[in-house]
């Protein structure tokens, strides 16, 4: 990854390291976190990725605000409506964004009323208007949304990314799905981190037989094919469980594999730091083991852990997406990227509604961004190198 990041770094005008007396003075008195930040800043693509990741988590925070129709509200008469494009200016040239409305047509084969796009009707989009009720951050009840439209007329509708077979708006669902998928990544990585630091730490600290045993276990875990195992565990979750229980169970299942990489990083750091002069010095001065670990060793490898975490996160997100895609992960009414992609599983559906594949776009962007970010962080983690 470093190689690629360097290459992109060159494209984005990464500068050669500063030289000269002024630069050296600054570096000589800088704290470690300043050094890391300076090194990280040079990596333009990683900085860009940091912004992208931050934006995505901001989006997750305001998911309901950014959605404009209730992601659960379905209307089978509005199934498979293609994405609408926004016309920004009205016919008189004034800035008044609108989309074309719908028209009820009776299907002569089934005699059902089906909505199709009517180019003669206009549905105006309001900014910061009122829509369905929700709780902002899960606390503040509100009806404000970024976009809204007059939904009292049944022919009105706003479908920026089209609808699925049940007539649910893909844009609104995608917003809510992003929140679920991004949070499950964070939760999974937290559990992995706990396991990784625990086992990696024990392994690196004690060495000897304990180390060998833990290393063998890690090797064993890594040689088990993950997807069949996950599938088996996920399928065994009782049907009676609520979607919240399933959510936590799935998080636990995907983090059962992810901890091995983190454990390796932690162990490696412990082993190399154990021999460092400052650790030996602290030991000779009579510092307790806990003090050595938390006061002296931990600060010098937190940056490594953060880098490893940001490289582990995309793997978690892919795992959840794969499981939900197979129908063994989160269960409806929960919405995640994998569940959205499940609708686009076969070629027959894709032929009718190719826009359902758009749910793959945020997955790819987030995974790429996390990879670049982790890469930049890993380079910056050791600013003396």
């Amino acid at each position: 990854m470093t190689v690629i990041a360097n290459m992109f770094g060159r494209w984005f005008g990464r500068k050669a390291p500063q030289s000269g007396a002024i630069g050296e003075d600054r570096i000589a008195v800088a704290t470690q976190s300043q050094l890391i930040w300076w090194r990280f800043k040079k990596h333009k693509l990683a900085v860009l990725s940091l912004v992208v990741v931050a934006l995505f988590y901001l989006l997750a925070l305001f998911a309901d605000f950014l959605a404009y129709t209730d992601p659960e509200s379905s209307d089978s008469r509005r199934g498979y409506i293609p994405p609408q494009s926004i016309c920004w200016f009205d016919s008189d040239g004034a800035f008044r964004p609108y989309v074309h409305g719908l028209k009820g047509v009776r299907d002569m084969k089934t005699f059902k009323l089906v909505y199709t796009v009517d180019p003669n009707r206009k549905v105006y989009i309001k900014f910061f208007g009122e829509g369905y009720a929700y709780n902002l951050f899960g606390l503040i009840p509100t009806k404000r949304h970024l976009l809204s439209y007059d939904s009292t007329v049944p022919e009105n509708g706003l479908f920026l990314l089209g609808t699925d077979v049940q007539g649910r708006d893909l844009w609104s669902r995608l917003m809510v799905a992003s929140r679920v998928s991004l949070l499950i990544g964070l939760a999974g990585v937290t559990i992995s981190l706990f396991l990784g630091v625990l086992f990696g730490g024990i392994s690196g600290l004690y060495g000897g037989a304990i180390d060998t045993a833990i290393q063998r276990v890690i090797e064993l875990v890594r040689s088990i094919p993950t997807i069949p195992l996950w599938m088996g565990l996920a399928a065994a979750l009782p049907n009676t469980w609520s979607s919240i229980q399933v959510y936590f169970a799935i998080t636990l299942i995907i983090s059962l594999i992810g901890w091995t990489d983190l454990a390796r990083v932690v162990r490696g750091r412990f082993l190399s730091l154990r021999e460092e002069d400052f650790v030996v010095a602290a030991d000779l001065m009579g510092a307790s083991r806990m003090r050595i670990i938390f006061r002296h060793m931990l600060p010098s490898f937190t940056s490594h852990i953060i880098a490893a975490v940001s490289l582990a996160l995309p793997a978690m997100i892919i795992s959840e997406t794969s499981l939900s895609f197979l129908g063994l992960g989160l269960r409806p009414p929960a919405i995640s990227w994998g569940i959205l992609l499940q609708d686009a599983q076969n070629i027959q559906t894709l032929a009718i509604a190719p826009w359902l594949l758009l749910a793959a776009v945020p997955v790819i962007i987030v995974i790429l961004a996390f990879n670049f970010l982790g890469d930049g962080l890993r380079d910056a983690a050791d600013p003396y190198g």
């Binding site: 399928a235 995309p314 063994l328």
Partner: protein, 330 residues
Amino acid sequence: MAAFIFRRFLLALATMWAISVLAFTIIQLPPGDFVDAYIARLSSTGSSVSLAEAQGMRELYGLDKPYAVQYLKWVGRVIKGDFGESMEWQRPVSEVIGDRLWITVLISFAALLVTWGLALPIGIYSAVRQYSVGDYVFTFIGFIGLAVPNFLLALIILYVSFRWFGLNVGGLFSSEYELAPWSLAKVWDLTWHLPLPALILALAGTAQLIRIMRANLLDELRKPYVVTARAKGLTETRVILKYPVRAALNPFASTLAYLFPYLVSGSIIVSLVLSLPTVGPVLLKALIAQDMYLAGAIVLLLGLLTVVGTFLSDLALMWIDPRIRHQVDQ
């Protein structure tokens, strides 16, 4: 060296044992036992089973015994090749799995070959011609390969080939050979369908291997012995291929041990999208229908597959790298 092989063999056995416990746990996880499910299935079709018969079946399968005993009985039967009965299909599990296991092996192995075949030359090229246009292009493609999960890639390729070329790239056989018995023509048909799924499966691993190969080779190329070789007047090809590439291959082979489980695992989900006749779709169906003997057998067999693959790649590592052989001898 024999000691090294023996140690790896022991580790493989331990892994296999752990996988068998996991597979058995998966079989046991759903509430109720095999007989309960069997009775429920029979009563849904109108027939019934008396309590005595049910008790007889429980004794036959040892379901009234403790967990450990049941496990041992199951392992004992599995070693003899008897995986139990599939409820969903009403046939022995080994019959249901049949050819599908070999097709899984075939696809995973083909993907492995593609990974090797692509990563080696591209890695060498990218290192020798660092920062050239070709290097950038390959790195870029590699990045896509890393960022797009392989089932998504399969989905996108499926859509693109359908939309713009009117082709259905799913499946592993043309329709006329799908149910036909094995023949030369069928094998030929298979060789035409195999490359695409193998490539989709291989892309992420290839991207990773190219990176590793490139970084290792760049390190090696800067070493003094390369200058010496050039000074002696060796041709450039020989300088690169004879020493630095060989030295750079070492981590390449060790990554392989982790690549194989990854490929087998990936083949499951890609098979579903591309409707390939591997064990993947059967596993998913078995899990959803809670046909647990079938699901457990597939998890066990896939585990066995990766353990054998890992063991073989350890042997390959020793064969490639004399340093390991000698270190082991000491």
